[in-house]
């Protein structure tokens, strides 16, 4: 039990520091560790947990608490959660403090101007990459395209959009 907890802490603290550009990039590493190396679960179970973590509200990286829960119960979930988020949050905290202190520094204005187009590009890129990775068939692409336009150009409430997406997917594929 203690050994499993240490494995979980070591695994997720390491992946936390490797997850450049968000949690999605280290999912394959999690799968290898949880299914092949430590054999905490089957490949099918891992995919189901991935689906649950994506479907539930909140950050997708919460898949770590499902892996921890399966491997070592509630203690495993708690250890995995802290190991995944504490190291990266500490780094962000110090970056944010430095950024705040530089509020009036000339370099910050230059960096802000440089970051804006990169961030907008990353927004588009993550949407496209997610669509390519998870969507099959015209219906889902159609839902994504329609909600892109609706979200960008109207003030329709996102909950209404989500409900419509669910209803269409049910009607077509359910």
């Amino acid at each position: 039990m203690i050994v499993t907890l240490l494995h979980l802490a070591w695994l997720f603290a390491g992946l936390s520091m490797l997850a450049f550009g968000g949690g999605a990039g280290v999912i394959p590493d999690m799968q290898r560790a949880a299914v092949d190396v430590h054999q905490w679960m089957t490949a099918r179970e891992f995919l189901d947990m991935f689906a649950i973590s994506r479907a539930a509200p909140g950050p997708g990286s919460l898949i770590v608490v499902l892996i921890g829960q399966k491997a070592a119960g509630m203690a495993g979930a708690a250890v995995s959660f802290l190991a995944m988020f504490l190291p990266s949050c500490l780094v962000v905290y110090f970056v944010a403090r430095g950024w705040h202190r530089a509020a009036n520094a000339p370099w910050r204005a230059v960096v802000e101007r440089a970051l804006a187009p990169v961030a907008v590009g990353l927004t588009f890129a993550s949407g496209l990459a997610l669509a390519r990775g998870t969507e099959e068939g015209l219906t889902l692409y159609g839902i994504t395209a329609a909600s892109t336009v609706a979200f960008a150009y109207t003030n329709i409430h996102p909950i209404a959009l989500l409900a419509m997406g669910a209803a269409i997917a049910l009607a077509v594929g359910g």
Partner: protein, 187 residues
């Protein structure tokens, strides 16, 4: 941290704001919800500050949207603010995920859930559209001129279409973007 100004929110409202962001975001629409709540509805940050935070959150390892919450909390209220936004964002989803996980482990092998998974897929498709729509909104307000448009296009195509790893694309595009912004700085 810093001077109190009129926009500085209370810790309770920071927590509440990020509870709603965490609750509303299905399947990856978190950046969309964060901008809607923090910039559009509450006016804690303007677009430029939000974009800087978003890009820095991607440059630092870890889950982007958790990073973004901690960044925004730190900017607005220092360490207590970071705690408020982090726990605001994660507490309710954590309980939901653990509950779903426990249900899943108990119900393994039961045939139910086909409709459930179909509607989840539909909501996931909407959430992706919300991310793309946020990109369009941000681009319309903040991207002016040939050079920034070119950078947006390069990053979008390299990662979103050609599938290059994010780390490599940032390692190339950040210096390029910094250099061009430095050339065009106000003197």
């Amino acid at each position: 941290m810093g001077n109190r100004d009129a926009r500085q929110p209370s810790l309770a409202s920071l927590f509440a704001g990020f509870v709603s962001i965490g609750l509303m975001s299905f399947g990856g629409g978190l950046a969309a919800w964060t901008r809607r709540e923090v910039v559009q509805r509450r006016g804690w940050l303007d677009d430029r500050q939000f974009l800087s935070g978003y890009a820095l959150s991607q440059l630092v390892p870890g889950a982007t949207n958790v990073n973004l919450a901690v960044f925004i909390g730190t900017q607005l209220r220092g360490l207590p603010g970071a705690f408020a936004t982090f726990w605001g964002l994660t507490t309710v989803p954590l309980v939901i995920v653990l509950t779903l996980g426990a249900l899943y482990l108990y119900s393994q092998g039961m045939p139910a859930g086909h409709w459930f998974s179909a509607s989840l897929t539909g909501m996931g498709a909407v959430a992706i559209g919300m991310n793309l729509g946020t990109g369009i909104r941000l681009a319309r307000r903040n991207i002016r001129g040939v050079i920034p448009i070119g950078i947006v296009a390069a990053v979008t195509i390299a990662i979103g279409i050609l599938g290059f790893p994010l780390v490599q694309v940032l390692a190339v595009m950040m210096p390029v973007s910094l250099f061009l912004a430095w050339l065009g700085r106000d003197r």
